[in-house]
Amino acid sequence: MSAAAETRAPAPRTPAPAPPTRRPGRRYRAGRWVVRNWRDKPLWMLLPATLALLLFGITPALLTIWLSLLNLTVSTLREWLEAPFYGVHNFIDAFTEPSSLGVTLGWSIFLSLSFSLLTTVITTPIGIAAALSVHNRFKARGLVRAVYLVPYIIPGFVTALTARVVFLNGSGLVDKILGGLGITNGQTYWLIGPHAYWAMQLTELWASWPFIYLMALAGLQAVPDEQLEASAIDGAGKYGRLRYVVMPQLSGVIKLGMLLATLYHFGNFTLAFVMFGSPPPAGAEVLPIATYYNAFDFFNFGLAAAIAVITMVILIIPGYVYLRSTRLTGRVY
């Protein structure tokens, strides 16, 4: 141990470092290089990450709860420490009165839940089918896999802008096709009014199925070939192998993918924000949009914070329950 490292190490909290013989049985636990002398562990290296996450990640999340209890408008924002305490009024207002956007919090919650759950439910079978379709080798498999990824890697704001043009009333691609086939009169008004939700939903479906595909593909690659061969020898057909050998092994990773995808759709701000004009139609006023417009267009920061708190509550409960119960805990060694 060099003198330089000794000086860089943080001051000891306990004066005597534990001797290596104290818990000899755990010294090489799990093959890990265990350094019992804490001075040898450069834990100060965690400081920058911890500081950044505390200042820009955890503290803001906690601060939102405090802000949601204040009567915080554009005039009180700069002195928010002295802003009048408002109790749960922001929450009551959010649920009972339509905000300046014209919708209540209940509507936004319903929209967000519907938007995220529906997207996950529909994209999951598509993603699994896509993964199965390119799992086995064939010519041009690399190309197909690359194209599959395209909706996912195109930036979200580009997807939203393109959707705006694709769903243009009358002259957009969708209206042209629907009008040309005689299904509609070609004047659907996708971007305003009641159809806006479905335009947004379709766009999210298009953009997000490759996520489940990636998860399923990673899961498929972990299925040992030997198991497939053994089950084939035992007489399992294609369907049997898929249903009883592959699927049980995929279910863990797909459930995790579904959870993460739902959380992601729930927090998707970019799509609705860029796809629609300002203010967005009622069918697109999901929770992130409600938070943003109440804060930065109508300057009712307290109300926006209340909506953000509700968002966190809705997200944290299933996320926490799932993270506790999933085998993810087994993977984090």
Binding site: A49, S133, L263, T291, L315
Partner: protein, 305 residues
């Protein structure tokens, strides 16, 4: 044992198999596989193709829906630079996302090293916290950050909002959990004997990290940099709050371009689409070139959220 996503397979090659042994591994009948592939390729390519086609179509033809081969041309790609501050936006995006990504890789490497090499209390909790933080949506933290920054601005009479600092620090923070996870997954696969030797020979932990670990971790660091860079490249939320006309990113320049023209009633959808193509081409090209490395990174990243 549940199926595991790829956790550390940066650039792992699949061994070649004998064709006769492949039969049991065919999971779907050939016709079904072909059907899925054809349908998905069509579904994926139609909007993308439409975007590219519209980017070559004059504005008024896009708005009216009168599309023909005769009107196609490169005019949009020339006009868009003066119609919207795209070049400036591109520059700001590169500066902001680039410095945020570089900082986040350094911070993440510093964190990943003790997290993989040493046992200490709270190590697991730290990794869980990183996963949990990934799931917090940005809309819940943009508001308090804005409130605190405007309060600091008023109290100390300095200017933060509109400068590069808040946006770079925010993107850096959002890049840290994923970068840390990528590097943790990679460092697990790197043997630690070399560092042990360096430490025994009197190298400090930081020295061992700099001289031994960094040279070996370059590929993972590159992947982490790219993902952290994309955080900034793709973000609209924080950029729309923390930047002004002088620092706005490409995404914001495009978003404002599209909304101001919608209000003005002179739609410039053609130029919008050519700008959209320009914004996606770098990302798509990088992905496709480095697909092998990035897809395993995506799997790790998705594991971390």
């Amino acid at each position: 044992m549940a199926a595991q996503p790829v956790t550390a397979g940066l650039g792992r090659a699949t061994p070649k198999r004998h064709p006769l042994r492949d039969e049991p591994k065919l999971l779907l009948p050939r016709w079904l596989r072909r059907l899925i592939i054809v349908v998905l390729l069509i579904v994926v390519m139609i909007p993308v193709g439409y975007m590219v086609l519209m980017s070559f179509t004059p504005n008024q033809d896009v708005a009216l829906g009168t599309i023909s081969v005769g009107v196609l041309g490169f005019q949009n790609y020339l006009d868009m630079w003066s119609a919207a501050p795209l070049a400036a936006g591109l520059l700001h995006t590169v500066i902001i996302a680039g410095s945020a990504a570089a900082a986040s890789v350094v911070v993440a490497l510093l964190a990943a090293y003790p997290l993989t090499r040493f046992e200490f209390k709270g190590r697991r909790s730290y990794l869980y916290t990183l996963v949990a933080l990934q799931t917090v949506p940005g809309t819940t933290s943009v508001l308090p950050l804005f409130a605190v920054l405007s309060w600091i601005q008023t109290t100390l009479s300095v200017t933060f909002i509109g400068t590069y600092w808040p946006i770079i620090l925010t993107y850096m923070t959002f890049g840290v959990p994923l970068s840390t996870w990528l590097l943790v997954a990679y460092l697990r696969t790197v043997p630690r004997q070399l560092e042990e030797a360096a430490l025994v020979d009197g190298c400090s932990p930081l020295g061992a990290l700099r001289r031994i670990v960094v040279p070996m971790a370059v590929p993972a660091m590159a992947v982490a940099f790219l993902f952290a860079f994309l955080v900034g490249w793709n973000d609209v939320l924080f950029a729309s709050v923390f930047t002004n006309q002088h620092t706005q990113t490409l995404a914001i320049a495009l978003e404002r371009f599209s909304s101001t023209n919608a209000i003005a009633g002179a739609p410039v959808y053609g130029e919008l689409m050519s700008a959209a193509v320009v914004s996606s081409v770098p990302v798509v090209v990088i992905y496709l070139v480095c697909q092998r490395y990035l897809v395993s990174g995506l799997a790790v990243g998705s594991l971390a959220g």
